[in-house]
């Protein structure tokens, strides 16, 4: 039987969720940056 370790399951979930999370957080992070560092 396949043994899924917690670390691997979390890694897998994160790798799926991370791109969407970064897209969502991008505008927020941009606003938090000092104006001179914004692109």
């Amino acid at each position: 039987m396949i043994v899924e370790t917690l670390a691997r399951a979390i890694g897998r979930a994160l790798s799926r969720a991370l791109p969407a999370l970064m897209r969502a957080l991008g505008p927020v992070l941009k606003r938090l940056m000092p104006p001179e560092r914004r692109e």
């Binding site: 039987m1 396949i2 043994v3 899924e4 370790t5 691997r8 897998r12």
Partner: protein, 450 residues
Amino acid sequence: MRRNGVIAFRGPAIAVVLLALGGCSARAPLAPYDRSAGLESFDASWRIVRETYFDTTFAGVDWVALRDTLRPRAERARGLNELRGVIERMLGRLGRSHFMLIPRELADTAGSATGVVRGSVGLDVRLLADLLVVTEVDAGGPAARAGVRPGWVLVAVGRDSTSALLERLRERARARATVYRIETEAWGTARGRLGVPPDSAVDAAFLDHADRSVTARLVADTAPGQPVRLGSLPTVFTRFRAERRAGPDGVQVGVVRFNAWMAPLMRQIDAAVDSFRSLDGMVLDLRGNTGGIGGMIGGVAGHFLERRDTLGLMITRRNRLALVANPRLVSADARPVRPFAGPVAVLVDEVSASASEAFTGGMRALGRVRVFGHQSMGAVLGASWDRLPDGDLLYHAIMAFDIRGANLEGRGVVPDEAVPLTRADLLAGRDPVLDAALRWIAAQPRPVAR
């Protein structure tokens, strides 16, 4: 292996087991053989097993000496298949289930919707009285369209007669070159031969119900079932069926059948249990179920247990972890329920493996199920996988599973009621194993109030 311009995987039966890869294909061309990556993969395979195999005695195999013997052969390998052969030989020396090398062509499925494509000619076989007999024909599938029926005898596949194939398996068994009993190996071999990619043809010869010779050219369809992917492992095609059956004395029984323990099936199993809660008994038909996610068996077991209990001990090199089942007290639609308390029968056969055996063995040890059918495969270890430097996946055992101090690896679950399946039953459309389970359920006391 290259056939028809696609890569098809047809390893020995040990590789077909558990993930049931037969008939997989991937249409990516292979890069030229990279000798140094190949040797690195040999070394990595050896090291991973040395570091993670649960049995530090390696059951008497001198793991260092084995590397020293085989490494020069890995070094001399002139191609990928040869290298894979050397690694598989090393893994095979442990004589355990749950070791296989999964070709990168089947593992590299990222980006595609279903991963690899699997073909199916729509029939399954078992070894019955020294004959490979058709036990199931998919409705509307290639075999059904060719007129093949359960109970027909498969006498040849391609250019090979099945009697010659079986003789080869017997030789392997005599030489102790196999982990499994012959009935499991026979299924695996037939599955490998019949498991061609979609649109590829297999010429098969049969004896029909009246022992007349019938030949058929079976062109594979895409395998039926829902594709399920787990990490970089090859796609598993899951099949599920739940039906209500009437048994002797008007007994009403819910029969649930599924071919793999994969998480997306959990919702269907939960819904089926919900719909059968008021019936007199349930049958879990795990015949042909080669296993899957170990963690799922506790969830299914919880439908049938009144109190928290342990199905078995998962023993890795460093830890011992109890596989616990908690009673399931909420239905799929969030109503409070009691776990099903009526009689539960489990059906197994020589293809029931791994998680299916852990579930069945664990539940029987708790006295909660009665087991019917044929002794199961005896492939009861926990496994994980790692990517090798050349891209192949090493699927390897990291865990033993003990049920009250006993271990089913190499033995399997011996049914409480061994029910032989015969060709005559299949020709007559009977299922003696299910019938025995229904009879047993009918003989159990009915609950006074529901």
